[in-house]
């Protein structure tokens, strides 16, 4: 069958402007997402509220779960590692809370786009918005868990250098930026390849036991650098060090900065190239 033009359509043809480059479109997407911050902040708050809807404690249910876990693990492992609870529990509490934040972004990052496929399929929104929402949601959960840290530090007081607490600011910023590129990159790969989320989940679980969260990296003695080169340790270390008044491992900042910068470039290149395919993948 041939094209059948019934009435004069040619009169309506307009000149089209030049198309934008892929990188420009990707950058626009990221900026438009930031401009819609009211939307993703509201959605993230709602995510947290809905997750604990119907429970009396609300989101603080999460805080209680974490507290119980830290208490239980703290008692047993302090005994197992023959260390004082006084030293062990603060290390475990701070480490585990930041681990949950970092690992949460990695595992949930697999669902950045697949998790909101009905939205992506129906409404045109900047894709970056879904990543912002995810990271902000995890920040909110971190804030709920963070309540535990001052309580633990009050029960087991350690000398705090208030000046060093400033280090938390660049540390958190770097981890948030890393969380963003991880959720964009993993979100895209997992949308295309559906066997990625379970692979990532099991890797994260294995890495948990290899990362000095439950045990101090010094326990490895001369081989402590094995654990200290782990980028997830670096992320936790730059936050844990200042809070516990302990020195940050020598390479942690370098590893974290490198990971953030390299990851951003890689994720942006990937995002620019495949952004338009996400709607077809999910």
């Amino acid at each position: 069958m041939h094209l059948e033009t019934v009435s004069g359509e040619t009169g309506r043809i307009a000149e089209l402007p030049e198309p934008s480059s892929r990188a420009a479109l990707a950058a626009t997407d990221l900026l438009e997402g930031i401009r819609k911050s009211w939307l993703w902040t509201t959605l993230a708050q709602q995510d947290v509220k809905l997750r604990y809807r119907g429970s009396i404690l609300g989101p603080f249910w999460q805080t209680l779960t974490t507290a119980v876990m830290i208490g239980g693990m703290g008692l047993i492992y302090a005994e197992l590692f023959h260390t004082e609870l006084y030293d062990y529990l603060p290390m475990l509490a701070v480490g585990l809370i930041f681990w949950m934040f970092v690992a949460g972004m990695i595992t949930e990052g697999c669902g950045t786009f697949v998790g909101v496929q009905c939205i992506i399929q129906q409404v045109r929104l900047p894709f970056s918005l879904h990543a912002y929402r995810l990271v902000y949601r995890n920040l909110l959960l971190l804030a709920h868990n963070f309540v535990i840290i001052p309580i633990v530090l009050l029960i087991f007081p350690h000398p705090i250098s208030w000046f060093r607490l400033i280090e938390l600011v660049p540390g958190l910023i770097l981890i948030i930026v890393t969380g963003l590129w991880v959720s964009v990159l993993l979100g895209m790969i997992s949308a295309r390849f559906r066997d990625v989320p379970p692979i990532v989940a099991s890797i994260v679980q294995v890495v948990f036991f290899m990362t000095p969260v439950m045990w101090p990296s010094e326990a490895l003695g001369r081989n402590a650098w094995w654990a200290q080169l782990n980028p997830l340790f670096a992320a936790i270390d730059v936050l844990r060090g200042p809070l516990l008044g302990q020195p940050t491992a020598s390479y942690s900042w370098i590893i974290l900065v490198t990971m953030t910068v390299v990851g951003c470039f890689a994720a942006f290149a990937f995002f620019a190239r495949f952004r338009s395919r996400i709607a077809f993948w999910v």
């Binding site: 033009t5 089209l16 129906q122 709607a279 993948w281």
Partner: protein
């Protein structure tokens, strides 16, 4: 001034199933280059839209006709900005409101009232502004006390009322609707038509896909007939409807006399 210009738009759907969804298989395939590669990565591409060029401008109410699988929904999704064309270009101006699905942004456990705010947010309307419009939306739906109940208790018709009322509460420049709208009852359709006529008169664009020729004839002034992803016919709605009838029933040389009198 709102418009939608499509130039030689093609949309290819990769159909991912089974092994082509697997990263492990994909990695194996690239490293072996052998028979396995062809087996493991058998991606099928379906061309859902093929070389579509259309210009839709102010005041156009476009009815989209075609058999199942002709590419109507894909075209609507391209116009709504959900799918980026694989080839060709789309240039659009004006704020788009799309009613492709009644469920968007709706939380099944939240009440009708809560969902008005929620869906409004996905449309880019701030909850503060949406709260001011909520009363008017509630009146239009005529759902009354049902709005205090979770939307999972709603019938399909009630969902349509709610979704339509929210999507049109701020007159959009471009309204894109898929065929589910026609599932509403006659009284609702009447009301919906009046509302759409109001804002299309104010220089807006409506694009509507439907299988109901009576409905598109009543609502639209232009028509597009899609067939296997190509534009088979484009022009005034009456001409396109008769082309559609010829497509459905090629044996009938002409439309029956009484139809001809109407069309």
């Amino acid at each position: 001034m709102s418009f939608l210009h499509l130039r030689n738009v093609c949309v290819d759907f990769p159909i991912y199933q089974g092994s082509s969804r697997s990263l492990k298989k994909a990695l194996l395939a690239t490293s072996t280059h052998g028979n396995l590669g062809r087996d493991a990565l058998d991606r099928i591409n379906i061309r859902a839209l093929n070389d579509v060029s259309i210009d839709i401008v102010n005041g156009d109410r476009v009815g989209l006709l075609g058999l199942n699988g002709a590419g109507k929904t894909t075209l609507l999704k391209v116009l709504a900005g959900v799918y980026e064309p694989t080839e060709g270009r789309l240039v659009a101006s004006g704020n788009v409101s799309s009613l492709l699905d009644t469920q968007v942004g709706l939380n099944a456990d939240a009440t009708g009232h809560e969902n008005i705010i929620l869906r409004g947010m996905y449309m880019g309307i701030h909850p503060r502004e949406m709260r001011e419009r909520a009363g008017e939306v509630a009146t239009f739906t005529e759902l009354g006390h049902y709005l205090d109940m979770p939307v999972r208790t709603y019938s399909a018709g009630m969902m349509i009322r709610l979704a339509f009322a929210i999507s049109t509460c701020v007159p959009p420049d471009i309204l894109i609707m898929d065929e589910w709208l026609t599932a509403g009852d006659a009284q609702f359709l009447e009301k919906a038509q009046r509302r759409i006529e109001n804002f299309v008169r104010g220089s807006s664009i409506l694009t509507l896909a439907s299988h109901s020729t009576e409905l598109v004839e009543r609502w639209c002034n232009r028509g597009i007939l899609l067939h296997h992803g190509r534009v088979l016919s484009i022009g005034s709605i009456k001409e396109v409807i008769s082309a559609y009838r010829r497509l459905i029933d090629p044996d009938a040389q002409q439309a029956p006399p009484q139809m001809a009198a109407v069309g």
